[in-house]
Amino acid sequence: MRRIAAKLFNPKSDRAGSDPRRSRRWWKRVALDKSAHYTMRLLTMATVGLVPLIAGALLWRAWPILATHRLTSLLFSQAWHPLRGEFGFLPFIMGTLWVTTVAMLLAVPPSLLTAIYLAEYAPVRVQRLANPVIDLLAGIPSVVYGVWGVLVIVPLVGNQILPFVSRHLGALALFRTDNPTGFGVLAGGAVLAVMIFPLIIAVAQDLIRAVPQGLREASLSLGATRWQTVKHVVLRRARAGVVAAVVLGCSRALGETMAVLMVVGNVPQIPRSIFDAAYPLPALIANNYGEMMSVPLYDAALLGSALVLLLVVLGFNVASRLAVMRLVGTN
């Protein structure tokens, strides 16, 4: 108690305490202020500790499987037979990578072009209209994206794109499949792409806007066209920011669960073509929460995969945030 008191009031102000001008009310106010300050500081510190706490808790629950299985066999084995105690995560890791790659290929070009358009070309009226709409797009729950995927994207892939592509490009392994349903990597990637549009657009737009106006004016005054200015000056200056936006979108795509789960087919295999069904890691975790307590080591395996997911996303996030911070610092 005394130590707390000593911390709250340093000796200098203690002497002030004997000062008759310092009323009782003054002491009360200061005490209240100090205790609020320390409470706030405690909460803030706790937030910083939350990330390691989550990682630690996952590691704790995943430990049984890490202790009994070699890490290489967990990560690179295809054998997924929880009942026989075989946990090879390769099909799920590959599923995640396939879906995320397709999503990024579909999402990055239109998002960046939209961000450049809104930041550099669009009249103010268009910006005022477009940005709130993009924000609304960001707010739609992932389950609704999933429903939309099932209603629109999956039939589109199954009935239109798949027959067309396999007729014309069927010779390529990338487009060959025995899964005619439309549920698969392409559908998952397409839904994910729409989901990460708003994120990439918002971050890229902010960082493109942060490029000093003087640079643009210098370029334009040398006779460059607007697109040349964008290409050679603005994008060069905002390069780190564009990368950061893409990486952030990628990390969102890696962890997205429900929407992907609903359209990706969920077959534990390594996809060979964009029409094959896949089974990404988050979908695996979400789909098996019911049974996981009844099979030995199953819960450890699933929470272990949550840990892997967390660490990958964490790495992507920190890298991108640091890039943004450095960029904002230089401008």
């Binding site: 209240l32 500081r41 803030t44 999933g146 697109w227 669960t257």
Partner: protein
């Protein structure tokens, strides 16, 4: 001359491409809304909104999704309340004495990272907490998971709201002899109230729409939640489960439920924007 033509062609080409991309992005939102309304509207009925599932509901018998609507409001409401109690002091701290210190820097980074953590990981973490406490999936578990999910969203929103307040206002308050706490409550909170409300509403919208985090922690039940320790249904999971049944009549209800959820979330989002604009009467600029 030839080069000149090529430059103009390139300029045109990319402009067309950019406009096309923007229209695609904006169009995808309208396509989603159109699909959900078009397929959800016919299946929507008063029964859907006012009844809980009766026996055989998931086979196509009668009932509604009141359990999920109420459950979702409880879950997101509780989560938002806890997140609010935690994030307000944190946001204020980020703008108090320690404004440029290392702690503040690290906290912002931590919040951004937490924002990026997938909701399924929050679900798994909440599940571990429940296991450690010896509890089952329950309303309380879901509330905890959602509070964690909403915390970074709300705190960062408030952080940005408070950052908009001119320093001179705070300095004037300090100069009058107010303590940090008094300035925070009487000046900062008052000045940023509309923007703080926006942050709260946005976090609520994120919470009510999230499925992966409540999947492990809140469970699912056909009854209305009656205590913190009993399981609670939620709208996103109601959509997910109904869509997963093989019966077209039940799948129709999933579309209707998706419409309900979308309307709630969009209304929150629009309300948030409205408050950010309108409630600025007492705000000194």
């Amino acid at each position: 001359m030839k080069q000149h033509r090529r430059r103009r062609l390139e300029e045109r080409f990319f402009l067309v491409l950019m406009v096309f991309s923007t229209v695609t992005v904006l169009g995808s939102l309208f396509l989603i809304l159109y699909t959900i309304i078009r397929r959800g509207m016919p299946a929507l009925s008063v029964d859907m909104l006012t009844k809980v599932p009766k026996g055989g509901y998931y086979l196509g018998k009668e009932g509604g999704i009141l359990n999920a609507i109420v459950g979702s409001l409880y879950l997101a409401g509780g989560g938002t309340l806890i997140a609010l109690v935690l994030s307000l002091p944190i946001a204020l701290y980020l703008h108090s004495h320690a404004r440029h210190s290392r702690v503040v820097h690290v906290t912002r980074l931590a919040l951004d990272v937490l924002w990026g953590v997938p909701s399924i990981v929050y679900g798994a973490f909440g599940f571990i907490i429940l296991l450690a406490l010896g509890m089952r999936a329950s309303l309380l578990g879901g509330i905890i998971a959602l509070a964690l999910l909403e915390l970074p969203i709300m705190t960062r929103g408030m952080d940005e709201a408070i950052a908009m307040i001119p320093d001179a206002l705070k300095e004037a308050s300090y100069a009058l002899g107010a303590t940090h706490l008094e300035t925070a409550v009487k000046v900062i909170l008052r000045q940023s109230a509309p923007a703080l409300l926006t942050a709260v509403l946005l976090a609520f919208g994120r919470g009510i729409g999230d499925a992966a985090s409540v999947l492990f922690t809140a469970g699912y039940t056909d009854r209305l939640p009656d205590s913190l320790l009993s399981p609670a249904a939620s709208l996103p999971l109601a959509i997910f489960f109904q869509l997963g049944t093989p019966f077209p009549a039940v799948q129709q209800r999933a579309y209707a439920s998706a419409l309900v959820l979308t309307v709630i979330v969009l209304a929150l989002s629009i309300a948030a924007r409205y408050f950010a604009k309108r409630l600025t009467r007492n705000v000194v600029k």
